[in-house]
C-alpha cells in the first residue's frame, strides 16, 4: 500500500440525514390524512357491516319503500327489505373484487412493463403493440361486451378488469423503467455480467416503487368505480345479492319517496373513491418530490 494514499484520506463529513421514504412523505400532506380517514371509515362499514346488521339482506322488514318503520332505521327498499342491513352487507364483495383485480392488474402490468422497458427488443414492440390494440376499447364497453354474452360472473369481471388495468399499468411502468435504465448503475451491473432477470428484480424494481404505488392507488380507485358502474347497469352482481351499485339502480325509481335506499350506497361509493384518490394524490406528490433529483 502506498503511503501517499493513506496520508490523503478525505476528511469525514457528518452524514446528512436521509430523505424520508415515500409513505412517510405522503403522510405529511393533509389530504393524505383525510383520505386515509375516509377510506378507513368505508372499509370498516364494508368489512364489519355484515356482522352487525340487524337483519339479513334478504329478510323482509316491512312494506316496500316505507320510511319511519320500527326497527328499520332508514326504511325499506323496493321489495320491503331493510335498507340499512342491505347497506351494511353491500360493500364487502365490491371492495374485495376491486382490490383483487387492481392487485392482479398491477402485478401483471408491472412485469410486462419492466420486461418491455428493459429488453427493448422485438419483445418490447410486440408487447406494446398488443397492448395498444387492447387499449382501443373503452374499459366499460369492453366489459359490457364480454359480460353480455358470457354472462355476469364474478371471476369474469375480475379477469376483464384486471386485464384492462394491466394494459394501462404496463404503459406507465415501461416509461418509468426507461428512465431508470438510462442510468449508469444498470450498465455497471451489465459490465460485471449480472444476469438480466436479476437486474430487473434487484436493480430496476426497487427504483420504480414510487410510480408503482401511485398506479396501485389509481387502479383501486378506478376498480371501485367501474365495478360499481357494472353493478348499477345490471352486469355485475345479480339480485338478490346486496351490493351498493345494484342498490342504487334498484332504488332510484322511488328516489323521491324513499331516498335512503339510494343515498346510503351512493355516499359509500363516493366517499370510498374520494378517499382512495386523495391517498393516491398524496403519494403522487410525495413521489414527485422524491424523484425531483439530487441536489448537487
Amino acid at each position: 500500500m502506498s503511503t501517499a494514499t493513506a496520508a490523503a484520506a478525505a476528511p469525514e463529513s457528518a452524514a446528512p440525514p436521509r430523505r424520508p421514504g415515500l409513505l412517510r412523505t405522503a403522510w405529511r400532506y393533509h389530504r393524505t390524512k383525510i383520505g386515509v380517514v375516509l377510506t378507513a371509515a368505508v372499509l370498516l362499514v364494508a368489512v364489519i357491516g355484515p356482522f352487525v346488521s340487524p337483519y339479513s339482506p334478504t329478510a323482509m322488514a316491512g312494506t316496500p319503500n316505507a320510511t319511519g318503520i320500527d326497527g328499520a332505521l332508514f326504511g325499506t327498499d323496493n321489495v320491503g327489505r331493510d335498507v340499512f342491513s342491505r347497506f351494511l352487507h353491500g360493500g364487502y364483495t365490491l371492495v374485495a373484487i376491486a382490490v383483487l383485480s387492481a392487485l392482479a392488474g398491477v402485478a401483471a402490468g408491472a412485469v410486462v412493463g419492466i420486461v418491455a422497458g428493459y429488453l427493448r427488443n422485438w419483445a418490447d414492440e410486440l408487447l406494446m403493440r398488443t397492448n395498444d390494440m387492447l387499449l382501443a376499447f373503452p374499459q366499460l364497453v369492453l366489459a359490457l361486451l364480454l359480460l353480455s354474452i358470457l354472462g355476469p360472473r364474478v371471476w369474469l369481471i375480475v379477469v376483464i378488469i384486471a386485464v384492462s388495468h394491466a394494459n394501462r399499468v404496463a404503459r406507465v411502468v415501461r416509461e418509468a423503467t426507461l428512465k431508470v435504465v438510462e442510468q449508469d448503475f444498470i450498465k455497471s451491473a451489465e459490465a460485471i455480467g449480472v444476469p438480466r432477470w436479476r437486474i430487473m428484480a434487484t436493480e430496476i424494481l426497487p427504483n420504480i416503487t414510487s410510480p408503482l404505488l401511485v398506479e396501485l392507488g389509481l387502479r383501486i380507485t378506478y376498480s371501485v368505480g367501474t365495478i360499481a358502474t357494472l353493478s348499477f347497469l345490471g352486469m355485475g352482481l345479480q339480485p338478490p345479492t346486496a351490493d351498493w351499485g345494484l342498490m342504487i339502480n334498484e332504488g332510484r325509481v322511488a328516489i323521491t319517496v324513499q331516498p335512503w335506499a339510494v343515498v346510503l350506497p351512493v355516499a359509500a361509493v363516493a366517499v370510498l373513491t374520494i378517499g382512495a384518490n386523495l391517498i393516491t394524490d398524496g403519494l403522487s406528490r410525495a413521489s414527485i418530490g422524491i424523484d425531483r433529483g439530487v441536489e448537487k
Binding site: 373503452p138 358502474t229 351512493v266 361509493v269 384518490n277
Partner: protein
C-alpha cells in the same frame, strides 16, 4: 411529418380491424352456441332455435360469418334487429344523432371552462384558488360518473330543489326541443370529463412558466402579457389539446352509464336495451361503432400532438 401521419393512419386501420375481430369474436365465436345464449330459457323451443340459427347464418363456417358481417358493417348494414325486425342501421340512426348532440354540447361547454380553470390555477399557483380547485378536481375525478349523476339528481331534482327533471321523457328525434332535460346529463358528463383537462392545463402552464425560455423572455424586458400569450401559451397548448381529444374519445364510452341513468334515448341506452333483450346484431353494431369513434378520436389526438410540436412539424436541417 406526413410520413408519421400516414404511419399512424395505417396503424389505426389495423387497430380497427383487430377491434372488429374482438367484437365478432366475443359475440359469435366465443359462446359455443350463440343462438342458445341469445334465447336463454326460450332455447327449449327447437323451432325458434333453428330459426335464429338461420337468421344469423350460424351454420356457416366462422370465417365466412365474419366476412359477411364485416362486409356489411363497412357499408353500415348491420343486419336486422332481433326485436322488431327493423334494419339495425335505421334503428340506430336517430340514437347516434342524439348521443352526438349530447357529446358535442358537453365538449363545447366543458373544454373551455376546464382550460380556463387550469390556466388560472397555474397563474395563481399555491394560492387559495389553486388549492380549492385542486381539491375539488380531485374529488370530482374520483367518483364514478353515474354516482355524480345520482348526487346531482338528489340535489337538483328531488327534495328541496326540484329544479330539473330527473328522467328524460321524450323521443330521440327532438332532443333539443326541451333543453331543461339536457341540463343534468350534460352537467354530469361535463363534470366527468373535465378533471384531466384541468390538471393537464395547470401542469402544462406551470412547466412552461418555469421554463428557461420564458425566463429569458422576461430577462429581455418583455411585458408580462406578451410573455404569457406569445411565449407561454403556444407551448402549453399542445399537451392539453391531446388530453381534450382523448377525453372526447372517452365520452363515446362514458355516455352509456349516463344515458342509462337519465333514460336518454341515445346509443348508450340502445346498447343496454339490446343487452337486456339479447339483441345480438344491435350489440355488435353499437360496440363496434363506439370502438371506432374511440380509435378515430385517439388517432386525431396523436396527430394533434405531433402537429403542435414544432420540432416534428418542421424537420431539423
Amino acid at each position: 411529418m406526413t410520413r408519421l401521419i400516414l404511419y399512424r393512419l395505417g396503424y389505426g386501420v389495423l387497430t380497427l380491424f383487430v377491434v372488429s375481430l374482438v367484437v365478432f369474436g366475443a359475440t359469435q365465436a366465443l359462446p359455443s352456441d350463440p343462438a342458445q345464449a341469445i334465447l336463454g330459457r326460450e332455447a327449449a323451443d327447437p323451432a325458434r332455435l333453428e330459426a335464429l340459427r338461420q337468421q344469423l347464418n350460424l351454420d356457416q363456417p366462422l370465417a365466412l360469418q365474419y366476412w359477411h358481417w364485416l362486409a356489411g358493417a363497412v357499408v353500415f348494414d348491420f343486419g336486422t334487429s332481433l326485436a322488431g325486425g327493423m334494419p339495425v342501421a335505421e334503428l340506430l340512426g336517430p340514437r347516434i344523432q342524439a348521443s352526438l348532440t349530447l357529446m358535442l354540447i358537453t365538449a363545447v361547454i366543458a373544454a373551455p371552462i376546464a382550460m380556463a380553470i387550469g390556466a388560472f390555477a397555474a397563474l395563481r399557483r399555491d394560492r387559495r384558488f389553486d388549492h380549492t380547485s385542486s381539491m375539488v378536481t380531485l374529488v370530482l375525478a374520483a367518483v364514478p360518473e353515474f354516482a355524480v349523476g345520482i348526487v346531482l339528481i338528489l340535489l337538483l331534482a328531488t327534495g328541496a330543489l326540484q329544479v330539473l327533471p330527473a328522467v328524460y321523457a321524450g323521443s330521440s328525434e327532438d332532443v333539443l326541443s326541451s333543453p331543461d332535460q339536457l341540463v343534468l346529463p350534460v352537467l354530469t358528463l361535463g363534470i366527468a370529463v373535465s378533471p384531466p383537462i384541468i390538471r393537464m392545463m395547470r401542469a402544462s402552464m406551470i412547466e412552461v412558466l418555469e421554463s428557461e425560455y420564458v425566463q429569458q423572455a422576461r430577462l429581455k424586458g418583455l411585458p408580462e402579457r406578451t410573455v404569457i400569450w406569445r411565449h407561454a401559451a403556444p407551448n402549453a397548448i399542445g399537451p392539453v389539446a391531446q388530453v381534450i381529444a382523448l377525453q372526447l374519445g372517452w365520452l363515446a364510452g362514458g355516455v352509456v352509464a349516463i344515458e342509462f341513468l337519465f333514460n336518454f334515448p341515445g346509443i348508450g341506452k340502445a346498447l343496454m336495451e339490446a343487452i337486456e333483450a339479447r339483441n345480438l346484431p344491435v350489440i355488435q353494431a353499437v360496440t363496434l361503432l363506439i370502438a371506432v369513434v374511440y380509435v378515430v378520436v385517439n388517432l386525431l389526438a396523436d396527430i394533434v400532438g405531433l402537429a403542435a410540436n414544432p420540432k416534428v412539424r418542421v424537420s431539423s436541417r
